[in-house]
């Protein structure tokens, strides 16, 4: 029994130590100004060129910098670039601004820029356009580089400044030797925040500190463009996989910011005086989609694909997600979303009344013969789960012979490669990508080997017209042309436009309204 006594003694000692511990930890908060954020997911891949995952782009904009950047009007503004010139149809020269330094203290050179662009452009949609048009990117001197083209490329600034993921982030030339897919040996950028591997606990937290040598532009911050002035000392990014727990932690003041506040808790958060809810508009909203698999009968028949326009209304899924009308655009019928530069309803196939009844009628007029339809359902993200479940239910009521298969997102991504296993699945993407035909996943991936395997010559023609258009009016006309073709051939059907509001402690001010969380410019009053 000596042993039990020893245990009890130990317990008593622990209790005493505990009470002492409480007292001694109280004044630990020094003068560091710190913000703790919970983002949409864990930042798993740190290589900003290595993935199209949104969360890595968010990380990219903090730690890395871009040559150009988009402002709140969707216009492209210079960021790392000081001046540029289109010498002739096939030659552009750019000069970097003074004082740009990487986090290891070395200056940013034109060589680094050239190497970074050549690494970025293989995986990026925008990058591939540039790659296809370009002959070479050449460093002329330390601060000047030249992009030599094989054919004219009116979208030069868009491709260098568009946030379509992965965005063209600049890193030291030596890091660009790591093949895309392998983890980078170190994370060194020239952005406003510094990544420190010793303060990164994968799966738990990451602490970024202010880059003291960052030289912000003089212009005020404007979305991704302008001067990135950091007013906090450090940014702690925590992983809290359970959104309920994260929300409770926000209300309790344990964290300062959550990127995606759970929809059903918005009314509660809105009433909390210590919490501010931030909704979004236009390109910062999301749109949901049901990508369709053209290679799997009966969806090889465009007439059967078009049946979906008759019953997929644009509000049911967002409502089922728990959103109130102020956070959605009910009934938006545009492929390039509503409230965006290229909004268009050209060629819309939506009937006046969208309903199960209309779907049933439309289906009866097709050659559909009871073939089984398989809906894939990603289970680990709420919008995926809900949108697929609602589609399944709609199709069941309309009279399709439909089966739903649930799986985690990882499995879904790998199984959608098998063309005879599925017909549709629910997913959503950000307006920054969907608002432009060239970065729209279910338009731009036309006729390439991408799950769904849609291929429509009308869309190809429209995309070419868009690329070659000299001005914005031309691009708008091309977008309408694409829209007409897409409504006819149906690469995917949208299920609604909605915002994923963020929520933060009310003692934070001057936060940039952006669906990509940005932590420069904001101020904390504590």
């Amino acid at each position: 029994m000596r042993d039990l006594k020893a245990v009890l003694n130990l317990a008593a000692a622990a209790c005493i130590a505990a009470s002492v511990g409480v007292a001694s930890t109280l004044p630990a908060h020094a003068a560091t100004k710190s913000v703790t954020a919970v983002l949409e997911a864990e930042i798993v891949t740190l290589d900003p060129h290595g993935t199209s995952a949104y969360i890595t782009r968010t990380f990219g904009y903090m730690v890395f910098d871009t040559l150009f950047a988009m402002d709140s009007n969707g216009a492209i503004q210079p960021e790392m670039v000081d001046s540029w010139e289109q010498v002739d149809d096939l030659t552009w020269t750019f000069t970097l601004r003074d004082g740009l330094t990487f986090h290891d203290g070395t200056p940013v050179t034109a060589t680094d820029v050239a190497a970074s662009l050549k690494r970025w452009w293989s995986l990026s949609t925008m990058g591939r356009l540039l790659k296809a048009a370009a002959k070479d990117v050449v460093a002329k001197d330390d601060k000047t580089f030249e992009i030599q083209l094989a054919e004219p490329f009116p979208l030069m600034l868009t491709s260098l400044g568009h946030p379509n993921s992965p965005a063209p982030f600049i890193m030291p030339a030596r890091l660009t030797e790591t093949p895309v897919g392998q983890p980078l040996p170190e994370i060194i950028g020239s952005g406003p925040f510094v990544f420190d591997a010793s303060r990164h606990f994968p799966g738990d937290s990451m602490t970024l500190t202010r880059f003291e040598d960052y030289k912000p532009r003089d212009e005020p911050a404007d979305f991704l463009a302008g001067g990135k002035v950091v007013n906090i000392d450090e940014l702690k990014i925590e992983v809290i996989p359970d959104s309920m727990t994260a929300t409770t932690a926000l209300s309790a003041g344990e964290i300062d910011y959550i990127q995606y506040a759970p929809f059903d808790l918005l009314p509660i958060l809105e009433q909390d005086p210590n919490v501010t809810v931030m909704g979004f508009q236009g390109l910062n909203m999301f749109q949901g989609y049901y990508p369709l698999n053209w290679r799997n009968p009966p969806f090889d028949d465009p007439a059967i694909r078009r049946v979906l326009w008759n019953f997929v209304d644009q509000s049911s899924v967002p409502i089922a997600l728990g959103l109130s009308e102020e956070y959605m655009v009910p009934g938006c019928q545009s492929y390039f979303m509503c409230g965006t530069p290229y909004e268009t309803t050209a060629g819309s196939q939506f009937p006046d009344e969208i309903s199960v009844e209309a779907g049933r009628k439309a289906l009866a007029e097709t050659d559909y013969d009871g073939e089984e339809i398989v809906v894939f359902q990603g289970t680990d993200i709420e919008a995926l789960r809900v949108s697929s479940a609602v589609l399944y239910e709609w199709m069941r009521q309309v009279g399709f012979n439909v089966r739903i298969e649930a799986m985690d997102w990882a499995t879904l991504l790998s199984r959608r490669k098998n063309e005879n296993e599925w017909h549709a699945y629910g997913v959503h993407a950000l307006g920054l990508d969907l608002g432009n035909p060239l970065s729209h996943f279910w338009i731009a991936r036309n006729c390439v080997d991408f799950p769904g395997w849609f291929c429509d010559e009308g869309i190809t023609a429209g995309l070419d017209a868009f690329k070659e258009a000299p001005d914005d009016d031309g691009r708008k006309a091309a977008a309408a042309q694409i829209s007409e073709a897409a409504f006819e051939s149906v690469p995917a059907v949208m299920w609604g436009q909605f915002a994923q509001p963020a929520a933060y402690r009310s003692d934070i001010s001057n936060i940039i309204p952006s669906a990509i969380p940005l932590f420069w410019n904001l101020e904390v009053d504590r």
Binding site: A18, V22, T25, E42, V44, S52, G181, D449
Partner: protein, 313 residues
Amino acid sequence: MVQSIANRLISTVPILFVVSVLIFSLLYLTPGDPAQMIAGAQATQDDVERIREALGLNDPALMRYFDWLWDVLHFDFGRSVFNGRSVTELIMQRMEPTFSLMALTTLFAIVIAVPLGVLAAWRANSVVDRIVLVLSIASFSIPVFVTGYVLAYYVAFKTGLLPVQGYAFLKEGVGEWLAHLVLPSVSLGLIYVALISRITRASMLEVLSEDYIRTARAKGLLGRRILFVHALRNAANPIVTVVGVGVALLLGGAVVIESVFNIPGIGRLTVDAILRRDYPIIQGVMLLFAMIYIVVNLIIDLLYTVFDPRIRY
């Protein structure tokens, strides 16, 4: 004794080998592809293929297995496919939270369960005994995450006395550490309390029915000291076994509780890795679990000799 421990350790090698083969074939045979997860949903098939190649995922399975085994024999458990950090380092970061949680849970459970079990045996078939029995089965029947949520909401959030979520490392102060662990340990410990109190009761009943105790009891000699010291000591072996068996149970429960309370432990590392198909981490963690299980069983066997000197190794 040293000899026998050494023998036991050597006999674990085949078990670890079996675990490694099981896990590797499981990962090889099931769908899911880390390259696709890295590339993201919008990547084309070409992109994914390039990344597969860069990660060496296109090599034959047997070759990958032997490469991995060779490295493991050199104490190199590989690197995360996603962030390139060494698996050993990632596991080390997660050790403290999980072990703290398990240690506190065990402590809590023993302190509550053993006296309860003794009491139930002492007053066998009384109302007290019935209540203890029903409570312990009830705590066994409620899913651990339901208990966790209820405690987090009503005890932590509504009163503000304890943190709702998260973990504080010991270096941040024992008070903080303890405050973050109270609710997780209690939620996880309830199942454990049920288990230990039941076995304590059963084991004590057996001892109490032995002649010398019955005689003492009949003569009114059975004091608290005899009950808790002599009788309990003789009843200790089954209890120790259950505490040991429970470690596997705790490791499993920790996976859930770590998610509910957002504790950065090994359980969450494992679940994240499984959902993401981070093969090296899954393999490393499973081996680690197997080793913990084996070591715990070894310790139990050694404890037998402490409680029952007749057993010798």
